[in-house]
């Protein structure tokens, strides 16, 4: 049972990790927590559902790519409308966070009001097949999601280290003003950044939609992913991945644990949020994050 739980935990954790990367990417450059990321992830799932089930019958792989692109575009729009003014005005990161909250509330309820609260399923892509090894099973969808996510993050890593845009992003995460002074068009940089983050989010949304189902408050799970990002250290990409995986693992282990006979499975969320609060108090930079001292 233990190993199966580990596999389960890593499987949930990989979803968290993918979402957490989106949070950390934005945080690393703009230094704020983008709460609207959850809405983008949900929209990614809805786009996939819309083109795979509801209105068209696009096959899986093209639908996945389209959803990624769509979510990326929506994230770009989100930045343009809700953040760019504040960013240019050097508003404190709290204002950006409030704006993100507003977007999140708006988009989620927009889904409720238009598409409705009905649940939708995206048909299973790989049937119900799983790989069995001794008494451990791993579903094919999980394996595909894992492989595809790893590929995407590898591509992201290449972009960040080998392309000009990537270098500019990495530089901006250290010192945005300097990058601007060097002549880089910040607007373009941030647009690309959000497109990438949104794309990753959309990907996560599609995987979630297939694994579970599609409905407006899917974004709730992204709160957990955020905790994963904090555990790993906001602003650090390897941190986001490790943090997400770690959180998934810990949650799964808590779910099967019990204290004196009472199962802890329903206390799982207290545990996760408790970690969040404890971390923020004791070590807000998480495992791999950077400390930025406020210069007065």
């Amino acid at each position: 049972m233990f190993f199966q739980t580990v596999i389960t935990g890593l499987s949930i954790g990989s979803v968290y990790a993918l979402m957490a990367v989106g949070y950390s990417l934005v945080f690393s450059v703009l230094n704020f927590s983008n709460f609207a990321h959850g809405a983008i992830i949900t929209l990614g799932a809805y786009i996939a559902w819309a083109i795979m089930v509801a209105h068209l019958s696009v096959p899986f792989l093209p639908a996945l790519l389209l959803s990624i692109a769509g979510a990326g575009f929506l994230a770009f729009l989100n930045e343009r409308i809700a953040y760019s003014t504040l960013r240019r005005r050097r508003a404190p990161s709290l204002y950006l966070m409030i704006s993100a909250m507003g977007v999140s509330i708006c988009l989620q309820n927009l889904l409720y009001a238009t598409v409705g609260a009905k649940l939708y399923a995206i048909p299973a892509v790989f049937a119900q097949d799983s790989f069995v090894f001794r008494d451990i099973t791993v579903s094919k969808m999980d394996i595909f999601a894992f492989w595809f996510s790893t590929l995407s993050i590898a591509v992201l890593h290449l972009i960040l280290t080998r392309t000009k845009v990537g270098m500019a992003i990495r530089a901006a995460s250290r010192d945005m003003e300097m990058v601007s002074a060097l002549g880089v068009n910040l607007d373009v940089l941030v647009a690309v950044l959000f497109f990438i983050a949104g794309g990753l989010g959309g990907m996560a949304g599609v995987f979630m939609g297939i694994k579970y189902m599609v409905y407006p408050s899917m974004g709730w799970i992204t709160n957990k992913a955020y905790i994963g990002a904090v555990i790993g250290g906001l602003g650090s990409l390897p941190g986001a991945i490790i943090g997400g995986l770690l959180l998934g693992l810990l949650e799964a282990l808590v779910s099967i644990a019990s204290i004196g006979g009472t199962s802890l499975s329903t206390f799982r969320d207290v545990f996760s949020f408790g970690i969040l609060v404890a971390l923020l108090i004791v070590r807000p930079t998480g495992l791999f994050g950077r400390t930025v001292e406020e210069k007065l």
């Binding site: 009905k118 189902m213 779910s255």
Partner: protein, 408 residues
């Protein structure tokens, strides 16, 4: 570091901001009004006498909407029928429905609105136990009888202290019965010796149905290997299912609504838990199959009625003719029965006064309803001797397996 900038933002004059605000609000108002439809156009229904208003607290949107819509449709059918035959006490009846979204708080608001503003004489619904529990005090205080349609939790009509809830009734069976049916079915028909349960700790219905199943199963000689729970709204039960798997149960009982059941079934199959799955009437929505796919194939569940039941074929025919689809059972039947119950009571009481109406409902004996003869037990406000059916998922349909008779 930042300081709040006092005074005005640089470059924006105070006066123009005020104008902009007014303009913005004006535009918003235009958009809002454009999208607004006049609510509840009480078109001048020039009736001679005031119609008798009966409230319907129902989930018209959300995951339970399939059942809710079916209830609303069934009520339309019976209202037309009754009004066509002359109405009740010389007056027409009118159903006022409000969407409770299967949400407890919303249901309380709906109940208040029905009672205080719409001035209904009785309420049909809600369909969910937790929701029915929540509105108890509202209609009790207002002395307006409520007939829940498919709320199966016993606490809906009998409070914790054993006393009956004065103004709440129901048209369906209760969970102890349903749990017993499931337990005995598993033991006798599926020949299971061990069972595991996965339930929703945030739902009255799920928690208690699970409990009654466990009681019946162990009483009949079975052994429960695992009794796992999850929080409402969670999506991933694989950790709990993994634990269940190690106990190697013969069957898995999932007393939840169709959304969670679908997820659980998919994940159980993913983990190669291949034993038969059993559920309760919360499964009985067609989108169970859409959501679960092949994972739910062959699973059994207890229900209040089935499409093949000979007693209701006329109703099914009429429903199909009028709405062009099959009714999503069992809710429309229960709503229909509830209306018959209320109308009959009004006729017997000779008045719509809340207290007298309640007494009349309590005294209902052998009333012919769609699903048989209805007698209300005054001590529990529950119908006596209601049958249960077992259905099975085959392909895209729910197939009738048998009508189950419990042995004590």
């Amino acid at each position: 570091m930042h300081r709040k900038i006092p005074g005005g933002e640089p470059g924006i004059k105070k006066g123009s901001v005020m104008k902009k605000t007014i303009h913005f609000l004006a535009i918003a108002a235009v958009l809002a009004v454009l999208g607004c439809k006049p609510s509840d156009g009480k078109s001048a229904a020039a009736g001679q006498q005031e119609p008798i208003r009966i409230g319907h607290s129902v989930a018209l949107t959300g995951p339970s909407a399939t059942w809710g819509q079916a209830e609303a449709n069934a009520l339309k059918m019976i209202v037309d029928k009754i009004n066509g035959e002359g109405g009740v006490l010389g007056r027409k009846i009118e159903v006022i429905a409000h969407d409770n979204r299967a949400d407890r708080l919303e249901a309380v608001n709906v109940a208040k609105r029905l009672v205080e503003q719409d001035k209904v004489v009785a309420i049909i619904g809600p369909a969910q136990s937790g929701v029915a529990n929540a509105i108890r005090e509202v209609n009790n205080a207002a002395k307006i009888p409520v007939v829940a349609t498919t709320a199966t939790n016993p606490k809906v009509t009998v409070a914790e202290d054993g006393k009956v809830v004065p103004y709440t009734f129901r048209a369906c069976f209760i969970d102890p019965f349903q749990g017993t049916v499931a337990g005995q079915f598993a033991l006798k028909d599926l020949k299971a010796k061990t069972a595991a349960v996965l339930y929703d700790v945030g739902d009255d219905y799920s928690q208690f149905l699970g409990k009654y199943f466990v009681e019946a199963f162990t009483k009949g000689g079975g052994r429960i290997t695992a009794n796992e729970a999850f929080r409402s709204g969670e999506l991933d039960f694989r950790a709990q299912l993994g634990k269940i798997k190690t106990g190697k149960p013969d069957i898995l009982f999932i007393p939840t609504m169709q959304k969670e059941a679908a997820l659980a079934a998919k994940q159980a199959r993913d983990l190669k838990i291949d034993v038969p799955l059993i559920g309760g009437d919360g499964w009985a929505s067609p989108d169970l199959i859409d959501l679960a796919g092949p994972a739910i194939e062959g699973a059994y569940f207890v229900n209040i009625a089935a499409l093949e039941d000979p007693a209701i074929q006329d109703f099914i025919k009429d429903y199909r003719a009028r709405f062009n689809m099959d009714p999503v059972l069992p809710n429309p039947l229960m709503a229909y029965d509830a209306m018959i119950l209320i109308v009959d009571a009004i006729r017997r009481a000779g008045t719509t006064d809340g207290e007298k109406l309640k007494d009349a409902i309590e005294a209902t004996r052998d009333l012919q309803v769609l699903t048989g003869k209805l007698t209300i037990d005054p001590a529990t406000h529950n119908p006596l001797n209601k049958p249960a059916t077992i259905q099975q998922v085959k392909g895209k349909d729910f197939v009738y397996v048998k009508t189950f008779v419990t042995t004590d």
